[in-house]
């Protein structure tokens, strides 16, 4: 163990700061957003009370990657919400106005329910092999190698099934 876990991750951040910034610029395509994310990464690295980290560099890259994906997800949610919000700004909706925060919670629950419904429906429409691989890997948490052993196929076979599944779900979710 390093003398101090918190400063351990922070020290690693100091070492890899430049390359993490390069990664974030490449990942977001936006220099100022990258700076902003890097700042957030630093704050988190300072606060995080982690146990010993095997590969600190990979850990920081993954943290940065997760921050990017969280923002993407938030942006996508906001887009859906805003689209609905404008849709609801109509005479008829105004007649039965609800408090804005309650409506927002309802909207979020509805969005989550719709996403679940879309996923369930899409998964059941997958080709049998892709569905099985998807369920084992994404829902039951088996690794690709474990899925390959379970289904008696090669690892590249699993990858092909997963690509089919993810592309299909992508169409269903982002369409």
């Amino acid at each position: 163990m390093s003398p101090d876990n918190e400063s351990g991750l922070e020290a690693l951040y100091g070492i890899y700061r430049a390359e993490l910034l390069r990664f974030l610029v490449a990942r977001t395509g936006d220099a100022s957003e990258a700076e902003d994310l890097l700042q957030e990464l630093w704050l988190r690295a300072r606060q995080q009370n982690t146990g010993p980290i095997g590969n600190g560099r990979a850990y920081l890259y993954r943290m940065a990657q997760n921050l990017v994906v969280d923002r993407l997800r938030e942006k996508q949610r906001r887009m859906v919400r805003e689209r609905r919000w404008t849709d609801q700004e109509t005479d008829f909706a105004a007649a039965g106005v609800e408090p804005a925060d309650r409506r927002r919670t309802t909207e979020e629950q509805m969005l989550a329910r719709e996403e679940v419904a879309t996923l369930v429906s899409a998964v059941t429409n997958l080709p049998a092999g892709a569905r099985k691989a998807f369920e084992l890997h994404k829902l039951q948490g088996l690794s690709h190698a474990e899925v390959a052993a379970e289904l008696g196929i090669s690892k590249s076979g699993v990858e092909k099934h997963m690509a089919v599944a993810m592309k299909y779900l992508r169409r269903a979710l982002l369409d």
């Binding site: 997800r73 994404k138 997963m162």
Partner: protein, 317 residues
């Protein structure tokens, strides 16, 4: 979001491969950064893959539970064609009923009918484009399509704006009039449904005789008891044209009627569920999974019934 769907397949394959390989402890982050820097489209492809992955991870427990709880009722495909014939006969009978009174007026009458499993596009003489959902029927009267009646199923209208004339569609006694919009009307489940994605239509209900304006992002459901107006995402209007049935607070009998059209099997809604509503999206596929998907999402029961299935409230545990 639509832009993301244009991403080329091989870029998605690369993004998926990176997504997978980054999960390992000795991931090649340098190689990944170089891949991102090589082409801005790589970033876009990866964003899209990462987003789908995030949604899947977020909902994995709920999706896993629902899939595990799926009722085992499998709709046999072999009996489909025969059922479809029956459905067609009903549609034909309905079309005939509405066609008789108009025949007397000596105007040309055309009945448009769509086959099971296939929607049908056509243009009316007055410049209106119509897409009939599968297993639907519409009767058009007059040289310039002065009268249009949706006899069964659902139809999507894309009406060219022309202030000189209006178009009126009759559905179950409801009259929908517009001058340049995009909307759907549905005659299923013993009710009436109109959804507007662009412009405004005017709807006269048979009970009140009063005209109500329904604008873009609004829908109206009508039955014997009257009509209600609610919001709808404009993109969801007529989403069956791109392979999905989207509902926002739709009466269950209407949803069941749509599924019956797509699956070719009768779907009876138990009185205990007649007043239920459904919000959500169902992927149409070949139509055979719609009913089990709906039952799974709503946690309701499917039981086989003569000629089809019955939906009822789940038994108390």
């Amino acid at each position: 979001m639509t832009a993301r769907l244009d991403i080329e397949d091989h870029l998605l394959d690369e993004a998926l491969a990176w997504q997978q390989s980054l999960e390992s402890d000795d991931a090649d982050w340098d190689g990944y950064v170089q891949w991102l820097e090589a082409d801005p489209r790589h970033r876009e492809a990866f964003d899209s893959v990462a987003l789908v992955n995030a949604v899947v991870e977020e909902h994995a427990p709920a999706v896993g539970d629902l899939l595990a709880a799926q009722p085992t009722v499998d709709i046999p495909r072999t009996s489909r064609p025969r059922r479809w014939v029956a459905g067609g006969a009903i549609a034909a009978a309905l079309a005939l009923v509405v066609a008789i009174p108009v025949l007397r007026q000596a105007d040309p009458v055309t009945t448009y009918r769509s086959d099971p499993g296939k929607s049908r596009d056509f243009a009316l003489a007055n410049g209106t484009n119509v897409t009939l959902s599968p297993s639907s029927a519409m009767v058009v009267t007059g040289k310039d399509a002065a009268k249009i009646e949706l006899a069964s199923g659902e139809a999507y209208f894309d009406v060219r704006h022309d202030p000189a004339r209006t178009l009126t569609v009759t559905v179950k006694g409801y009259q929908v009039t517009d001058i340049g919009t995009r909307f759907i009307v549905n005659a299923g489940g013993g009710g009436f449904h109109v959804g507007v994605s662009e412009g405004t239509v005017s709807v006269v209900a048979p009970q009140s005789g009063q005209a109500v304006q329904i604008g873009a992002g609004q829908q109206m459901f009508g039955d014997d008891g009257g009509a209600t107006v609610a919001p709808i995402t404009p993109d969801d209007v007529g989403s069956w044209r791109s392979g999905r049935l989207s509902y926002s607070d739709a009466p269950l009998p209407l949803v069941a009627a749509d599924i019956a059209r797509y699956s070719g099997k009768a779907v009876i809604v138990d009185p205990s569920l007649e007043k239920s509503h459904f919000s959500g999206i169902l992927v149409i596929g070949d139509g055979t999974r719609l009913l089990t998907d709906l039952a799974t999402v709503m946690a309701i029961r499917i039981s086989p019934e003569k000629g089809g299935y019955r939906l009822s409230a789940a038994r108390a545990h």
